[in-house]
Symmetry: C2
Subunit: 247 residues, 2 copies
């Protein structure tokens, strides 16, 4: 089908998927984090509903569509990103499975109803809003990276509202916020059950965390096997290749 690319957009391959996605270096380009979250998260296969918050250019719904036949709803507050996501979904002929909403995640429990989703995924902004001087001067990137339009507590409270009892909430974030994430998940009754750490190399600190909780779940956390990104010779590890290839 015909695809319109706007501004500095380009059409990138989604590795290992046969799918393509519209990206823009000045607005949003998906990173390893999205692939890691799509690999990590539980996914309902044939029954149920998935919602992805802070969807950006739609990369997580697009990646999840390879793993499940259930309907996926993406929510993005930035109109330009929402528009990129819509066009990528159309281009990949995924519009029967994936729907996008242009809106604020904080409105979603009221708009969509509470407790309707089997899985809520989110790759939220990572950084607490700094003072205006330090913030990324590109507004699109700043909103995607900093807690400008939603705080971590907003994200977790909305995830909790949207997910069913017994349903799952999966997030990707940075180690510096793990304590906040765990205390807030418990506060909002999403018990952390699976945690996985991503280390750039053996001998290095983790730089990415993956966490999944169950609404009203019983306390019992598992810490999954470590994901090591690079071997000593700076090549990707086999596990990372599998993740990038979408297995």
């Amino acid at each position: 089908m015909e695809l319109e690319l706007k501004y500095d957009e380009r059409l990138d391959h989604v590795l290992g998927s046969g799918l393509k996605i519209i990206q823009s270096p000045s607005v949003f380009a998906f990173s390893l984090d999205a692939a890691l979250l799509a690999h990590f998260t539980y996914v309902p296969f044939h029954k149920g509903k998935i919602i992805d918050l802070c969807s950006g250019n739609g990369i997580i719904p697009i990646l999840l569509s390879k793993k499940t036949t259930v309907s996926i709803l993406g929510v993005e507050i930035q109109e330009r990103l929402y528009d990129m996501a819509k066009r990528s979904i159309m281009f990949n002929k995924l519009d029967n499975q994936i729907e996008m909403i242009h809106g604020d995640l904080k409105d979603m429990p009221r708009t969509l109803g509470k407790g309707k989703y089997d899985l809520v995924t989110c790759n939220p902004p990572y950084f607490i809003t700094p003072n205006t001087k330090e913030i990324n001067e590109n507004e699109h990137l700043a909103i995607a990276r900093h807690e400008i339009l939603c705080t971590l507590e907003d994200v977790i409270s909305v995830c909790s509202d949207l997910v069913k009892e017994g349903g799952k909430v999966s997030l990707v974030h940075r180690p510096g916020r793990l304590v906040d994430i765990i205390t807030m998940m418990r506060k909002y009754k999403v018990e952390p059950k699976r945690l996985q750490f991503v280390y750039p190399k053996i001998g290095k600190e983790a730089n990415i965390i993956l966490i999944e909780g169950i609404k009203y779940g019983n306390p019992d956390l598992k810490i999954l096997d470590p994901i090591i990104v690079y071997k000593d010779n700076n090549e990707y590890t086999d596990l990372l290749r599998e993740i990038i290839d979408g297995n």
Copy 2:
């Protein structure tokens, strides 16, 4: 010096230390956990005071004595273990540096005063007390392993009471309790700052966690490099050898 061994006790080498310790298979034998905690924890070198709770046969004070010249106080509630610790300390001529108290950790803030220690270490009982049928029938082992005489919340609240403002609390535990530990540390104003996971092998879930917090610290958690115990060929990794050798 003369050493009296009682019952089924034996005198074991503390690997890599040149020290020896009294152990007893029916009462308490130290495990990798103690070596991991001694390796992981921050230690004040020349100034300050250390207290170790749930000391068992004194393994952690004995291991820490190799890393610091400051005084170390061990607290153990079981008289037989306390007695083993005392004799090991005497045998190693560490009685100038290490003191043992036979008592309940819950009494220590009142007995010793609040906010006096630069470091509190603890390798607490790991398991929530099951019903009496399932519990380990050996009372000594049961007390060391199950939360019979103190709960996790007792441990963390006492650690918080004993440590100075800006001082550190270091614990070793199991992944299943990480969420409880993090939420309780925050509740008792010991902000988690360093977290390290021990994986039996690449590709396996973590089975030991090491966590250190700072009293009234600012939120900012680091997740240290992964400790992998065995290589693919089932030999210890180099890092694990270093830890066992006390480096």
